[in-house]
């Protein structure tokens, strides 16, 4: 019998507010780990902010902003090992940077250039999933396969609050549970699916409640608290590696930026709440924490930020230096053994275009 555990009610929190709420700490994290977490947060933040600028400058296409989601991505990422597989949605497009993927690769993806389409096996990071929640069964299947092969790796799949309304989420969650797949279902609940608030998405009290029906243990964390996210994910990873199957994490935050560069949230969002969320955003919150515990100096902070900026400058330069792809790529990669008709189509296309 699968054990049905009630979802946690309160949000887990580690970082205090420097006033009435005290700071806690996560066992097992030393000073260098804390700095690494900060480095990841800053890298993601820099990537995101520069990308919005690049979009305005016409250097990348429509871009899904993740400003304010960095703690959920960096915190969960640091609980993983390199052989664990990551299944990102478009909101986690740049999570590969944390595993050494060049910024140019991700920027190229947003430029619609083929050099942005990586080999998942090179990073153990699946392709960016554009449709909502359809990658949840992939993460379940991969993790199930790992278990069948006796490997220790697990998978983590990222999706938003709106995704929990999709059938693919439910089928994937159920598969993961039934197959005892070492998978982590990571829900970044930022309160909004474009313009639809969570209240219009579900009558469940929490999104974590949805896991209960599948016999999947669920935790709720403050998604702006990188240490709480890290700890909750580490717990889930331990369960996965111990053969106890999947876990669900609901990380709660408030979307303080547009859904994407093409979105104007002023039509639907409460500016007061946005202002509050921005004042309490995750990177500065962690920075203040690191200063309170004397881990971060001005000098180190400056170094980390300038490294991130340099990576982005090099990234956009490299992405823009990519040659225009040949149209022959239209007919490549879809099949191992392409039909003769494609060769004919390409020859005809070249004849017409070459005049």
């Amino acid at each position: 019998m699968a054990q049905v555990l009630p979802a946690e009610g309160d949000l887990r929190r580690v970082i205090g507010d420097g006033e009435s709420i005290p700071d806690n700490e996560v066992e097992g994290l030393d000073e260098s780990d804390l700095v690494e977490l900060y480095r990841s947060l800053v890298l993601l933040r820099t990537y995101d902010e520069r990308s919005v600028v690049f979009h305005r400058q016409g250097r990348i296409g429509t871009y899904a902003i993740f400003w304010g989601h960095e703690a959920m991505q960096a915190g969960s990422f640091h609980a993983l090992e390199d052989d664990d597989w990551i299944f990102p949605s478009y909101r986690e497009s740049a999570i590969g940077l944390l595993r050494g993927m060049p910024a140019a690769t991700v920027l190229s993806w947003w430029r619609g250039h083929p050099s942005g389409w990586w080999n998942p096996a090179d990073y153990n990071i699946a392709s960016i999933c554009v449709p909502i929640a359809t990658h949840v069964p992939h993460a379940a299947g991969l993790a199930w396969g790992k278990r069948l092969k006796g490997e220790t790796g697990c998978s983590i799949v990222y999706f938003g609050d709106g995704a929990t309304s999709e059938g693919a989420f439910h089928e994937g969650a159920n598969f993961a549970a039934v197959m005892r797949a070492p998978a982590i279902l990571f829900c970044n609940n930022n309160g909004w699916a474009i313009s639809t608030p969570v209240a219009a998405q579900t009558r469940a009290q929490t999104l974590a409640d949805k896991a209960v029906g599948y016999g999947i243990p669920a935790a709720r964390v403050d998604g702006g608290d990188v240490l709480a996210v890290y700890e909750a994910t580490r717990d889930a990873v331990v369960r996965a590696r111990a053969g106890e199957g999947p876990s669900f994490i609901e990380a709660v935050t408030y979307r303080a930026a547009p859904h994407a560069t093409a979105d104007d949230p002023s039509a639907y969002i409460d500016p007061q709440l946005v202002e509050e969320a921005r004042a309490n955003e995750c990177v500065a919150r962690y920075e203040r924490y690191l200063r309170r515990v004397d881990v971060l100096t001005d000098e180190l902070d400056e170094q980390i930020k300038s490294d991130a900026l340099a990576a982005m400058r090099a990234g956009i330069a490299a992405a823009e230096a990519e040659p225009t792809p040949d149209l022959g790529l239209l007919f490549e990669h879809a099949l191992a053994d392409p039909p003769a008709a494609w060769e004919h189509d390409l020859a005809e296309l070249r004849r017409i275009l070459d005049g």
Binding site: W118, T134, V136, A334
Partner: protein
């Protein structure tokens, strides 16, 4: 060589391919303990264990979506969709991921998964146990599709599908699961995708079909007072265009037969190819005998929906007299 029913040939192929390659696993609803509602997977669980012949939750998108992840983990999953029309939930995964993932990885990762399902009508079943949904699959880039009509091809095409580096969908004509009987090679037997089968040679007219419509065409050929060729397409994508054009060039008269509804059905694609590439060989219009553009009917009148010998003969006569 042994004489087998078509569904037994499917079962034989699964046994042989799972024996041959430990990465091959079967997953689907009722495929394990029960051996499949049509017994296509009978014996696999006993032979290969519960981890290689897996009873899944009742979730077609979950089955196919998990199979994508299993491919990434190094498996070659064979997914059973229990019935043609039960496969529609899996189209989400098929269209958004299965046909695109290899391309998405720049050709670096392969997704060697197989989907197999019984399809077609004439079996006196409730609604949505009778559909011919091949067009949805054929229309999806990155997907190959084959439909056998004989036991030997049912084994050989399924083996080819399982060994193929890309996703292949096999539709099995359930109407003839236990009536089509024929010699099936023992052991490994592969029928390459992309090759049609000349079921019968003739000079006056060609009947083109696949799956359960092939025997209908063969019976129609018997009734016609003419030399009739019957071309079993069997591999819809990739298509053996040369075989189609060669037959059209030879007879100059082509009747296309499909069980699926007419509009944008597979026969429409064949007709377009003939119009583009065989126009000067044709001695009359290309005719289609198909299901109608209606929901698959109440089974008490389903025989009127299905392309019958009489309808094929009628079309053939009109063309011969054109």
């Amino acid at each position: 060589m042994a004489e087998r029913f078509l569904v037994e040939a499917v079962n034989d192929a699964l046994h042989v391919e799972m024996e041959r390659d430990a990465a091959v696993m079967v997953l689907g609803e009722d495929v394990g303990q029960a051996g499949g509602v049509f017994r296509a997977t009978a014996g696999l669980r006993d032979r290969f264990g519960v981890n290689r012949c897996v009873d899944t939750p009742l979730a077609e998108a979950g089955i196919l979506g998990s199979a994508v992840g299993l491919c990434m983990a190094g498996f070659r999953p064979v997914c059973e969709m229990q019935y043609d029309a039960f496969s529609y939930p899996c189209l989400d995964q098929l269209i958004t991921h299965v046909g695109r993932y290899r391309w998405r990885t720049g050709g670096k990762m392969t997704f060697p998964l197989t989907i197999r399902m019984p399809y077609g009508g004439g079996v006196r079943a409730p609604e949505l146990h009778d559909d011919s949904p091949e067009t949805y699959y054929v229309h999806t880039p990155g997907i190959k599709v084959a439909i056998p009509s004989t036991p030997a091809d049912a084994k050989g095409l399924l083996a080819a599908a399982i060994r193929d580096p890309d996703p292949v969908v096999i539709f099995e004509p359930k109407l003839v699961y236990r009536t089509a009987r024929g010699d099936v090679p023992d052991g490994e037997h592969v029928v390459p995708l992309g090759k049609a089968r000349l079921a019968r040679a003739g000079f006056d007219l060609t009947l083109v079909a696949y799956g359960a419509m092939v025997p209908v065409c063969e019976r129609a050929a018997d009734e016609l007072d003419a030399s009739v060729e019957v071309l079993d397409i069997r591999s819809l994508k990739p298509l053996d265009e040369d075989a189609l054009l060669a037959s059209a060039a030879k007879t100059g008269r082509v009747v296309l037969v499909q069980e699926a509804p007419r509009t944008c059905g597979y026969a429409a694609e064949l007709a377009a190819i003939l119009a583009e590439k065989a126009i000067l060989d044709l001695r009359g219009p290309v005719l289609r005998v198909t299901g109608y553009d209606v929901p698959y009917p109440y089974w008490s009148i389903e025989d009127a929906y299905m392309p019958s010998v009489a309808r094929v003969v009628d079309a053939a006569r009109r063309l011969l007299e054109f």
